[in-house]
Symmetry: C3
Subunit: 131 residues, 3 copies
Amino acid sequence: MEVQTGNRFQIIDLTSQVEEELRRSNVRDGICLVYTPHTTTAVVVNEAEPGLLQDMLDKMRALVPESPHYRHGGDGNAHAHIQAALLGNSAVIPVERGSLLLGTWQRVLFLELDGPRRRRVMVKVLPGAGE
Amino acid sequence: MEVQTGNRFQIIDLTSQVEEELRRSNVRDGICLVYTPHTTTAVVVNEAEPGLLQDMLDKMRALVPESPHYRHGGDGNAHAHIQAALLGNSAVIPVERGSLLLGTWQRVLFLELDGPRRRRVMVKVLPGAGE
Amino acid sequence: MEVQTGNRFQIIDLTSQVEEELRRSNVRDGICLVYTPHTTTAVVVNEAEPGLLQDMLDKMRALVPESPHYRHGGDGNAHAHIQAALLGNSAVIPVERGSLLLGTWQRVLFLELDGPRRRRVMVKVLPGAGE
């Protein structure tokens, strides 16, 4: 699965794409792992209301701000790595009757913390005891 | 699995209930996913000492305090969503010989961050290569 | 899997050891759970550049500092428990063709937050639909 981000910090709702991958797996019961292979992005399950997504990014930048004082040199993105470590690089979601068991307000969110870039996301579906 | 929380912020030890669900699954070897379908609650694995649980809630409220300045309107619970995103909405625990492989001090903790409410928690057990 | 940490705060790259456990499982396709059974350690997937690892520890100590004001008594390590809850005590990584599907810069990192101690880490591999 490919994701093109357009900003330095951005949150993208991946739910439809993950559901499409789940359908292709033909698994009816089990779990679905959504995994980002990058070190300056994150995957979380939460609400996708636009104001909230902005709040989330603002708060992550306030908790772990950019700064010239990190030891990690190179491209000066230590803050993005640490934000990613705090949020986590994967989500695991239960699957039943071929659907993600998301709650009413839950969406699968991809957080770009050092964009814009072309990113990949992996979806792995595992069958449960029922299959 | 249902959980009734009694306070705005509260941590509940779910370990016994999760073990009961594991027994019912009859899986002896694999993994156990504990998943909350809500966007203002979290699931973590840590110690359940009462003083520590209070410290944990105090620290989450200090890191991501309530404020009228969030963009997320509605019920004014942006702080609870962001705390939930930081802590994570699921835990995955290895299973062997029909038991959760928890460490000596580990318990499965449910964090209510915007209660009191009636909440649900899902437990999904997946068999490993040995079954 | 055993890990001997040498400092109070320390990050250890476990990738090679996890890959060795994966080889021993003979699973070619599925997921790999890396799990710490301790309550003052964490497992995250990120880059292992030494400067960044130091930044990560520094930032965790700044966000959740040691303090005599926590209620959790005993050994005065409430900060380490809360840091561990924020970072998470496990990582789940997709497996294909017998290898961890890590991104270019991703490594499996073990964070000691209250060392030095002898620690254990569990690796559980689950086969996917393809096996």
